[in-house]
């Protein structure tokens, strides 16, 4: 009999160890918390030989033990109604001091416990706390073992409960991690969607800006055309009058008409300067680069402008030495130099001199200097003369001023060529404007 009992005990121990091993292996890896409850309760019930098993967990927020579905031998909907405040539980049993609770006869149940247990239809019950790191995180309740729960059952159950607590904690952590991962993923998705929406908005507003830019360009070239038409009419009629197409004129009439013509021409220059500057600032100017012989360009320029200088008593001359060609848009450079020479003439008094010179500089640039014998520009104003609408006071009070844009356009055009423009002291207290352009050879090697 003793031998049989030993065999029985050994088998028991073996099954218990096997059960523990299985629980620690399987439940440690178990990540689905529902599956954890289902398998734990089933495994424990089978090992102990009870008909019912339910796991409850402690909810610190509400201070309740809450039944966790699924259990074993109890329908899920009944488990879900099971909420047991710990304060009530304490009046019936104290796990800390009394250990596992075993009630093998209904008569042993306190009345308050009946209220909770009645739906489970149990005739005996054992409850073991789930303890993790010294804290009770829940409990395992078993019921209806035919013949009652033995001390051995309770011991086994206590060991299982320790394993189960770890398994539950793992599953909870995993679920929590998974939820965090999902939340993170959702956050990433929504941020990505936000970014995509922002990108789409940007693309739309970019397209709209381009459209507006085009509208502005069209508008400006229309305005330019519309302004030129009446100006052309004014200038045409006055030209005809001044040239005697309608008959001879008195001197005062001629003088007045000349003033009308000068102002009409100034307005025309302003319109084309404004259009030029708008195109430059919009990056719409394209250079058609060619090899330009600066010496020839300066000679041509002097020939073209000389008629303007004679009746004003100003000497205009080019002093030319050997000078390498530059790689440039000839029209644009001519526009810059014409502007500089016109300015020089405007500020030079009768009897003065405007001279042009070009030479190669050791830094690989060709420097073109336009000097006048005018009043000069104070050093503190030398940067500002290139600002938009900046006007210097002139010596020659008769001729109307320019648009105030000539030097701004000149600087833009020179810089588009990779060059520089600045003002220095000129001869006899005048100014010298210097344009430095990369020489053709160095411009070629720079490509």
């Amino acid at each position: 009999m003793a031998g049989l009992l030993d065999v029985f005990r050994r088998r028991w121990r073996y099954r218990a160890l096997e059960g523990l091993h299985e629980i620690s292996q399987a439940f440690a890896a178990m990540t689905d918390i529902q599956e954890t409850y289902g398998r734990l309760t089933r495994r424990i019930a089978e090992l102990i030989g009870a008909e019912r098993c339910v796991i409850s967990l402690y909810e610190p927020r509400t201070r309740e033990m809450v039944g966790q579905a699924p259990g074993y031998g109890v329908p899920d909907e009944i488990i879900r109604t099971f909420r047991y405040t710990v304060d009530t539980l304490r009046t019936a049993w104290n796990f800390r001091t009394q250990g596992p609770m075993v009630k093998n006869h209904p008569a042993e149940f306190p009345p308050v416990q009946w209220d909770y247990l009645r739906p489970f239809a149990v005739y005996n019950v054992t409850v073991v706390p789930l303890v993790l790191e010294g804290r009770i995180i829940g409990m395992v309740s078993m019921g209806n073992k035919p013949g009652g729960f033995s001390q051995n059952d309770v011991r086994l159950l206590t060991v299982f409960a320790a394993q189960a607590a770890v398994a539950i904690q793992n599953a909870r952590l995993y679920t929590h991690l998974e939820e965090s991962a999902q939340q993170l993923e959702a956050k990433v998705r929504s941020r990505t969607a936000e970014l995509e929406a922002t990108y789409r908005e940007l693309a739309v507003s970019h397209a709209r800006l381009r459209e507006l830019d085009q509208l502005k360009s069209d508008f400006l070239s229309n305005v330019s055309h519309e302004l030129r038409t009446p100006l052309a009419a004014i200038k045409g009629f006055v030209d005809n009058l001044l040239d005697g197409v309608t008959g001879p004129l008195a001197d005062r009439q001629r003088h007045y008409l000349q003033r009308v013509l000068d102002n009409a021409e100034r307005l025309t220059r302003m319109v084309s300067d404004l259009l030029d500057l708008t195109r430059i600032e919009a990056g719409k100017i394209e250079l058609s680069a060619e090899t330009v012989a600066i010496g020839e360009m300066l000679e041509d320029l002097v020939e073209t402008l000389r008629p303007l200088t004679r009746d004003r008593g100003i000497a205009l001359a080019a002093e030319l030495g050997p000078c390498p060609p530059v790689r440039a848009d000839a029209d644009k450079i001519l526009q810059v130099l014409t502007n500089l020479v016109s300015n020089g003439l405007k500020f030079t008094p009768r009897g003065g001199r405007v001279s042009l010179a070009a030479r190669e500089s050791p830094d690989g640039t060709v420097r073109i200097a336009v000097s006048d014998t005018g009043p000069g520009i104070p050093p503190e104003e030398r940067d500002r003369v290139f600002d938009k609408f900046y006007q210097l006071s002139r010596v020659d009070g008769e001729r109307p001023p320019g648009s105030g844009l000539g030097l701004t356009i000149a600087r833009h055009l020179v810089e588009l060529h990779g060059g520089r423009i600045w003002v220095e002291d000129g001869p006899d207290g005048g100014s010298t404007f210097v344009v430095a352009l990369p020489a053709a050879s160095s411009a070629e090697t720079a490509r």
Binding site: L231, A232, A233, I234, D239, V245, A264
Partner: protein
């Protein structure tokens, strides 16, 4: 007087037509004026001017569109485009369509006279 050169001026601006007409007549030219490309082509079906001065922006038929027709109708005529649009590519387009010269409004009368004289010496 029948030897005086004939110029057809095409522009939708009455002011410009008058300015150019008065100016050309003072130089001894005979002048015909048209208000758009269609009127110009109607003239060219009947007369053969020495020069045509052609605006670009006009109602019904603009200068740019009329240019090839004008050139076909008057192969020997000197064609000067006179426009308010300062634009180098535009000047190239005009030349490609048969224009000989390109002059910007407001124009310098001396320059116009020079172009007309050049057209006559060439023709």
């Amino acid at each position: 007087m029948t030897d005086a050169p004939l110029v057809l001026v095409v522009d939708d601006e009455a002011d410009l037509l008058q300015i150019v007409r008065d100016r050309l007549e003072s130089w001894g030219y005979r002048v015909l004026t048209a208000r758009d490309g269609l009127e110009a082509l109607a003239y060219l079906a009947a007369v053969r001017p020495d020069s045509v001065i052609l605006d670009l922006k006009m109602p019904r038929l603009g200068g740019l569109e009329a240019l090839p027709e004008v050139r076909r109708a008057a192969p020997e005529t000197h064609i000067i485009v006179l426009t308010g649009s300062p634009n180098r590519p535009l000047a190239e387009t005009c030349r490609a369509r048969g224009a000989d010269d390109f002059l910007l409004k407001p124009f310098d009368p001396g320059e116009l006279l020079r172009l007309l004289a050049r057209g006559r010496s060439r023709g």
